[in-house]
Subunit: 633 residues, 2 copies
């Protein structure tokens, strides 16, 4: 049997007499570019003969080579039969490029390993000499073009039924779409002509309030469209508990279709902007909290809100997008992120993936703050998580002039330590209407530094200053005078607001410390603190430490990963290998039930001080407060 | 780590401290009987401690043991923790019985390895200590009961959606049904309570004319019901070509639903007789010719009847029965036999499987005779096949008094060599109405032996006998006088009938010889000739040789396998391992296009003699004819 040695890799393989160089390449798992399916028509599989004798008709195929290439011994691998042992050099261009390094929109690097591929083929029509069945002809074409082996591809009945007409009506020029499934591959589509340029995937962040979608090319990973809109389920209840209750009362299928509709609307607007067809989206990856993904998949979420709080499913789910009512390509794949528990859902696992914290032995702390908060502590070897209710204060609720991060919200504040006059910035730079979370954190930190409040949050009413006054019920500090605002009222922060803010931040800090104690980790051991979600975007890192929202670490260790859910969904869409990582994350991560943890209440009580009862845990803050006190004294 | 040695197999395995004997058994791939999922509730996993120390509460679980068993060291594997290295004996009863040798209805042995299993489970309800999700709880229960590993089981969305209600409404006592799919397993059903006794599968022979179904228990393989009925497609054309033409004119979906209806009717009557529910049928295996299976799957068969005659698909197909409109359990599997070509379909591959010819190095010849015939020659290493039109004569068509094998058909005839008086037997022993195939073969052989016809089939009209006469158009021989028949007419066989019969038999013999020549096989090399189909059931083996329907072999080498299609379907239903063999058969078998084989016409011409021009190929027949001639001379 002749042996073929492939350069530059020096892979050597023996083949049956009469086999082509392409056959040998396939046997050697070298994936060559064979658009025509090995028919000598596309001229993509050029190799250079370095030694040995071959049977190749250089005259017939000469049109594919430059004179220089002919001098170097150019052959088409698919039309060249080795007559004895040969050595051939395979240029880069003749190989299918499998892995590319992509730079993500937000700067996260991931390998490009999508789970869907298209193969444009020009098949030889059947003849009496080659009466292979249509399906075999098609699958061999895919195999010869560097696709998976013919006998590894499952073909659903619906696709088989379409094949004979598509092949004949297109003159045997078609495009097949193959996706990865457990145990092999699946042919999910056959189209007339060359549609290999139309191959897209969608990443979806299915939030309780907002839905974000990205549409990306699955050929090069580029973002082609982005859109977001409200989750239409809001009409059935604003918070997640009321949604579950609605589902319980027979509303599950209505909620399910609202979720699908919301995704479809966002996809439609992103696709329209990009000028692409929803039918060219072949895969959808969704990250969402456990209740949201249960509802999207039509699975009853009711048992998650009553003792003993069990989800129906935690593992990742694969299905077809159409079964969840998502209006992309028929038979497009749907991948739903796994969950750790009812509270730690696919959105948090996406955060973890996006942070990259599982890829390093360095210990990281990840915090996702909303009405509820989730905290994850760990590294590549282990991971602890917990969740809790932060209360609405950090989102502007239960705070007299609190508001969400909408136009007019004060998002940054600093006080002149001498005059106590606040300098602030509002969203969209219009007159202030209220204060949002990041502004409230700044304010708390600044009031503490200025000794207007003490470490328990009490306002020092003995300070004689026009901005420090007693309101109708509580002492308060005036942030903006009526005539400077957009609401015709003095914007103030009251002692009661401060109390609520401290309770919120105390829950989060106590959760962090509880996880650290569980894992035996000191704050010095923490290499990164990641904030996920809109909240983290605008937060002043030092002020977050000053008030004791998080453990004290050098501020440069604090990073903001933005919308980790959509980031993680994007990564899983582009790099199928990360999907296995997700399941490992979900299996590795221990969930600590804070209410069952006796030490948590103690930590909480200690955390209701600014920043904490034990200043030794906040040495930088201790020093800062010391210097402020000295200055003011 | 403690090591557990399992007797009587002497498998030794080390386990983490704290693991149970059951955990060790699972690690060692020993499948124990654990109905309760390892909760110490069912008492099925008894083992006997032979050496070493264990932690086991013999008082608490004493109710499961007889005093003798306690003396022998009985423990429950799921509740016993080895404290150091131990040896335990595992009695047969504690193991899940995986393989049994079954004797099939027709005497074919096959291992019992079905592709569907039920697991009756009593799950512990979730608690704050164990808040595992519903799906994990269920899959772990299956794994602990000896089923596949939890992470190897794919669960379709439809089943996940049903799980929470089924678990709770049943008090956590449920039955899960798992089937094998490419790359793993699939949970296809979850039912309340213990339904593990209701597990059936169906084997279907989808014939052009007739449909035969078997319903079998998938617990022990027993046949519980059999039924057959006409293929309702007959209303759209009796022969297969007219069906394809009907499909071409837009009738495919009508033909498809008629096929499904015909199968459903047969299944319903078999299930009703057996007193079982169609919903308890979890898998359907169908063997049929290539056109019939294309139509059943809704795949256009049109390209098989025009040049270059290509099927859409040859590989085996798996889908769900519901997609083909077969009214068994929702999500029940459907397995369709593969094909070799448009003419050699799943029915012939089923014949080959049923014959067992692929399991031996002995060379066998398999012949399936109908309006068309198929011939397969080969052994475990190689296989050749061909097909052709036999013409209708052997089924009683184009023969003046020919008829199908219905009541009143003469199915056996012999002549008194002295008086030339025929002795015959009719189906149902009523007055004769005509002659069916086996009767015609007998008649041809007897007329030859009696020298009433010569080796070209001409009637020797010079014989002066009342039964040898000249009819309206042709010389003829009277088989039954008018007054003895049920049709008020003399039943005769004419010289023209004989000519038609010879043309039919010549096609078959020439096909056999052509394959033998291709393979370089002499008649002495043939160890078995298998007849498949109703035709072979009643044929007189010696007479088939005398007329030269088949090559001459000692008659004891000729075997009849009955309806090979239904036999093969039954085997594939009961023994999933044989399904791989099917694909190998389909891939191994070469198809010889007789029309493209120049030697075939020569062989045909030589075969239009009785038995053949070359008597040296029929030495037994030569001797016989010699002795007859001598006697009559």
């Amino acid at each position: 049997m002749p042996a073929v040695t492939f350069l530059p890799g020096f892979r050597k393989i023996s083949v049956e007499p009469g086999s082509t160089i392409l056959d040998a390449a396939q046997k050697a798992q070298i994936h060559m570019n064979v658009v025509c399916g090995g028919e000598g028509k596309c001229g993509k599989c050029i190799v250079f003969l370095k030694s040995g004798r071959v049977d190749f008709d250089r005259k017939k195929f000469g049109r594919f080579f430059s004179p220089g290439e002919i001098d170097e011994g150019a052959c088409l691998a698919c039309q060249t039969v080795p007559l004895d042992d040969v050595q051939v050099f395979v240029p880069e261009n003749s190989l299918i490029q499998e892995q590319k390094i992509l730079i993500d929109a937000r700067g996260i690097e991931t390998e490009f390993n999508p789970a869907v591929w298209k193969y444009a083929l020009e098949l030889a029509p059947p003849s009496l000499e080659d009466p292979s069945p249509d399906l075999t002809r098609l699958l061999w074409g895919i195999e010869k073009s560097g696709g998976p082996r013919e006998n590894k591809i499952y073909v659903p009945l619906e696709v088989i039924r379409r094949i004979p007409a598509v092949l004949r009506e297109s003159g045997w020029k078609i495009t097949g779409t193959v996706t990865l499934v457990p145990g092999g591959y699946r042919l999910i589509d056959v189209e007339k002509g060359d549609t290999s340029g139309n191959l897209y995937g969608a990443a979806v962040d299915l939030g309780t309030t907002t839905i974000v979608v990205y549409i990306r090319s699955l050929i090069d990973g580029e973002v082609v469209g982005v859109a977001s809109n409200y989750n239409k389920q809001i009409s059935c209840g604003e918070d997640i508990l009321s949604r579950v209750n609605y589902a319980r009362k027979g509303g599950l299928s209505h909620l399910q279709s609202l979720a699908a509709e919301s995704i479809n609307d966002a996809l439609t607007s992103a696709a329209n902007n990009a000028g692409i067809d929803l039918d060219d989206i072949y895969e959808v990856v969704v990250a969402g909290n456990t209740i949201m993904t249960h509802i999207l998949m039509g699975i009853n979420p009711a048992y998650m809100i009553e003792e003993p709080y069990v989800p129906v499913v935690k593992r990742y789910l694969t299905s077809s997008a159409s079964r969840a009512g998502i209006a992309v390509k028929e038979d497009a794949g749907l991948f739903i992120f796994p969950a750790v528990s009812d509270y730690i859902g696919g959105d948090i696992i996406a955060d973890v993936l996006a942070s990259g914290m599982t890829e390093s032995e360095e210990v990281s702390l990840l915090i996702d703050i909303g009405t509820n908060f989730e905290v994850v502590l760990g590294n590549s070897d282990w991971m602890f998580s917990c969740s809790g209710a932060a209360g609405p204060a950090l989102e502007g609720g239960e705070v007299l002039f609190g508001m969400r991060a909408n136009p007019g919200a004060i998002e940054e504040v600093s006080l002149d330590m001498e005059t106590l006059v606040p300098e602030y910035r509002t969203i969209n730079q219009i007159k202030p209407k209220g204060i949002c979370g990041s502004g409230l954190i700044d304010l708390l930190a600044e009031l503490l530094r200025a000794c207007i409040i003490d470490r328990t949050g009490r306002i020092n009413t003995s300070i004689s200053h026009e901005r420090v006054r007693t309101g109708r019920y509580y002492p308060e500090f005036v942030v903006a005078w009526k005539h400077d605002t957009g609401i015709e009222k003095d914007i103030v922060v009251t002692e009661n607001d401060i109390k609520n803010l401290i309770m919120s931040k105390a829950s989060i800090l106590a959760a962090c410390i509880t996880l650290m104690n569980q894992a035996g980790i000191r704050r010095e051991d923490i290499s990164n603190i990641y904030f996920s979600g809109a909240f983290g975007n605008y937060i002043n890192k030092e002020n977050a430490i000053i008030i004791g929202l998080i453990p004290e670490v050098p501020p440069e260790k604090i990073k903001n990963i933005g919308n980790g859910a959509i980031e993680g969904a994007n990564i899983a869409l582009l790099n199928r290998k990360k999907r296995k990582v997700l399941d490992e994350i979900a299996r590795t991560m221990a969930y600590i039930e804070l209410n069952a943890e006796p030490s948590f209440m103690d930590e909480y009580t200690r955390s209701t001080f600014l920043p904490h009862t034990d200043l030794a845990q906040f040495p930088m803050v201790e020093e800062l407060l010391e210097s402020c006190r000295i200055r003011r004294d």
